[in-house]
Symmetry: C2
Subunit: 337 residues, 2 copies
């Protein structure tokens, strides 16, 4: 199936199709210099399949994990492009998860002030969420996504076959963003998690999640307003994610936890916890609330003495609230039960 | 006087007025966190004048010169903003020449994916040319401007009083871009250099140059086509500028030299040389042509086996030519006589 993100001259297709990774060159011109960014966790056969389609492919493989969203990795990619003589009409292709996509996308955004970016997400998280919408970034001094750009891809190719090789926990992690999409905008999608089988329903989950995100992004590409609803769960989630000593929770797991205090309806919150239990996502955690608060307010959604949080009053509804920092501190508490 | 760069939601005013530096806060909100980027060559009294107008001003002063357009300086600015708790509604203000403007503008472009940028150019070069149009960048591995963004300022304040403190050579250097503007699009402006007095005519020169640039940028903000005419003189110019052992020529001086081989009319070329002589710009140079060619083709305007150069067939006219790399090598020769 194919969706089109409609953003005027920056419109692009999102192709979700089994086996598509072997046919990217039928969808976009790869007969030019293509910088393929990947990480050590991506199976080599996917990398080889992509390189075989590129006229002049150059690979940069970064270490797996959030640590690669760094200035050092960014500079390495840009220097590689420069040394290989990349011009404005060449391209960057990301093959991997959200880390690779964010890093490669930002490199594409700033090399010669912007070259084509092609995103081939290979994880549940990136196929559901991070590969579309044009947000790219690296981290700085422990703060996530603080340096980046809005740079839309020219094409997104999500091949669900690649999810077969993901470790189970990694696969489930990405579904948290689909639960999020259901909670804020698609009741049927949420109910699919209550009654269906995530493995069997995978393509429907992918599709519905992408539609939710596409509709939001099309109406507020640069997050000057409503797009912030996609940050549901992310304020406290980023805080938890920054506290590495909590056991190295994955992004989706942190978002799952971060959504709970922001759900206002008690019954809905219980339903969400039941879904987490079914899927294998964490539903509770203890932490030092002051620490999580510090990390959370360093986050980009903080401004002055108030912070904008995203709340779900009931299933399929979402609201942006500007609240005093102290109120956020109260919401964070000393853990999530 | 005031010009408005009309770019839809990204439109902004360019204020050219003596004494304006003391009244920037009457033109835009400075009652927020403002990161003031400047360099060691900018007189302290200008810096103090700006900081006095900022509600919460934070200064970063970088070393003078092209070396500050680096990843290291960029990271220093971004880290300072992060540590001072800058949010999306805060701002970056550049106070200085083109180096400071390019560096600060890129920091503003990528901090939290874009915050307000205010440019207060204090050199002839930046008041005439580099402060408007939204091109920001740093250098990488010796190649100029290879990493950057299009990020339009919210306001440009050019106070001609600041030019009084510039060393003479630095003052004249910037006029090369005004000569360029005349050559490509404004015959009267060029003739002003032949018959007038650049010091006395300064404000007219500033104004006319800005109008030329504004008209080009408004029609091709992201340089997908016609905007490239503003690169007249810059292909060979960048090559000369990159060869530091040639005596540390300034940017404008290099552009002045780089324009000469691209002027097709012999008579016009002689008139341009006479203007350079009058102003005190260099009109000839010897160099190793292979070296200049290497630097020039590393430049962002190269693509594949051809390069787009900008040529002036006669006064006020300009043409983009895609030529084979060998032809550029011939144009470069072994120097400019």
């Amino acid at each position: 199936m194919k969706l089109t993100m409609r953003l005027g001259v920056r419109s692009y297709d999102i192709v979700v199709r089994r086996g598509a990774l072997a046919r990217v060159n039928q969808l976009i011109n790869l007969n030019r210099k293509v910088l393929v960014v990947t990480d050590e966790g991506v199976p080599r056969r996917y990398v080889e399949a992509i390189l075989a389609q590129c006229g002049r492919g150059v690979e940069v493989c970064v270490p797996q994990g959030e640590g690669s969203k760094s200035f050092a990795c960014l500079e390495r990619i840009l220097t590689t492009m420069l040394e290989a003589g990349f011009g404005r009409s060449d391209a960057v292709l990301a093959l991997g998860g959200g880390v690779v996509g964010d890093l490669a996308g930002f490199a594409a955004a700033c090399y010669m002030r912007g070259v084509d970016f092609i995103n081939c997400p290979t994880t549940t998280l990136s196929q559901i969420d991070s590969s579309i919408g044009g947000k790219t970034a690296v981290n700085l001094a422990g703060t996530k996504n603080v340096v980046g750009a809005f740079h839309q891809p020219r094409l997104v190719v999500a091949d669900p076959d690649t999810l077969d090789t993901l470790p189970r926990r990694h696969f489930i992690n990405g579904l948290a963003e689909a639960v999020k999409a259901g909670l804020i905008a698609d009741e049927d999608l949420f109910e699919l998690f209550e009654t269906g089988d995530a493995d069997k329903d995978l393509e429907e989950i992918l599709y519905r999640s992408l539609v939710v995100k596409k509709n939001v992004v099309e109406n507020d590409e640069r997050e000057t307003g409503r797009r912030a609803v996609l940050n549901f769960g992310h304020t406290i989630g980023h805080g938890i994610e920054s506290a590495e000593h909590l056991g190295g929770l994955y992004h989706g797991e942190c978002v799952a936890l971060g959504m709970l205090p922001m759900i206002e309806d008690e019954t809905l919150r219980s339903r969400v916890k039941a879904v987490y239990k079914r899927l294998g996502l964490p539903a509770s955690i203890e932490y030092d609330g002051d620490e999580i608060f510090r990390f959370a307010t360093h986050d980009k959604k903080a401004s002055g003495d108030a912070v904008t949080v995203v709340r779900v009053p009931e299933l399929g509804q979402v609201r942006l609230d500007k609240i005093p920092l102290e109120e956020l501190r109260t919401l964070i508490g000393e853990g999530i039960q």
